[in-house]
């Protein structure tokens, strides 16, 4: 899966949790939770959905690395690459 595919899926997951999000308005290099209203339950649901779609389990200790959309995409890309 290439980077743009991962990005599309992650954005899809975020929109499924927060339907009010406009993709065009999302700044990929800014903290996600500043732009999207995600509480800890929503965030957990994002991770559960990512887990379902990409089969990547993100440990809690890594949450702090996942600040922006770019961070998430890069993190998942690395995880998926290390698996093959």
């Amino acid at each position: 899966m290439n980077e743009s595919e991962i990005r599309t899926r992650v954005v899809g997951v975020i929109k499924s949790i927060a339907p009010e999000v406009e993709e065009g308005e999302l700044r990929a290099d800014r903290p996600l939770r500043d732009q999207v209203d995600l509480d800890s339950m929503d965030w957990l649901n994002v991770l559960v959905a990512v887990h379902e779609k990409l089969k990547v389990d993100i440990p809690e200790a890594d949450y702090r690395k996942l600040v922006t959309l770019n961070d998430i995409v890069a993190y998942l890309g690395a995880k998926l690459a290390s698996r093959v």
Binding site: D39, S40, M41, N45, H51, D57
Partner: protein
Amino acid sequence: MIEFKLPSLGADMDQGKLVEWKVKPGDAVKRGQVVAVVDTSKAAVEVEIWQDGTLFEQLVPIGERVPVGTVLATLLAPGETREQAEQQKRAARPAPKPAAAVPAPPPPVAAPVAGAIAQRRPVSPAARKHARELGVDVDKVAGTGPHGAVTVEDVEKAAAAQVKGAAPAGGDRYAEMRKAIAAAMSRSKREIPHYYLSETIPMQRAAEWLARENEKRPVTERILMGALQIKAVALALARVPELNGFWRNGAFEPATGVHIGVAISIRQGGLIPPAIHDVDRKSLPELMRALSDLVARTRAGSLRSSEMSDPTITVTNLGETGVESVFGVIYPPQVALVGFGRMETRPWSEEGKLFTAPLVTASLSGDHRASNGIRGARFLAELRERLQHPEEL
């Protein structure tokens, strides 16, 4: 014969519109089964029944809006026959009518009385009450009943028109919800003498324990700090039971179970505090599953009547929005609300040592009619203690 009535759906909801029957006459029903769906100002609520039996007659048609307490259907008790029920029905009274369907009183035929009264057209008591609830000026509603009488339906149409004028499509429910919240909170501030206490709780033990616990768990089974807080509240209530229950008819009624109302925000705006039942008897994983399920169903607008009607205390966590502490407004007829602010790492000292630790401010809003500050303080001390032993939660 058993009467199945529309249950109370929370302090701020006094009526509901029947949108679906899940069972039909002749069907056997079991205690706890969802038998109907009722639309309230806040959500579509699945109404459960609390007795076993066989559905005999449905008395309220789909689409009708009726007040809480209206008999929606009758049931045959186990062992009872249709004949017995028919007999009982004949003996009792004409088929019960939902109150909202009360016909307009016969219009006055006599000459109009002088003054403003002369201008008034007949309005059924139900329509008048309904108009008050919906904030509709009944004198401005066009009546379509006999002799221009204003019916409940007319009032509803007028209310719908008002709401549509005020908000775009989809705003109906939000406006209704805002009204319901306004009614409950105004009642709270009018009737409940609140007292407020707060306590800073060190959370390093809970946070470290939870991190270790979640490390072992797949993402689908992870536990949030919010679940620990709710469980700790439930356990602490055992020591101060006068915070768990209701103030009704001038007296405190202790609750038999610990059903914690969790304030859940809706994305489009608004707030619903449905209950998680018997929190004190649930394990943390069970509580976490119940919490995720409740949040998902609240946001999807599919709650059950028992969840809406019987929270015995409310917990709100506003820490997610970044506030330090909460000064909550109690949901009547409950007598307490517990608030949690954000968790933040700050300097802290214990046993003469200064270090940094994650801290959270917990607050209690108590009803002074039901409890005193000293008991409230006891509760917060107990809550703090419980959170120091996360493995026992």
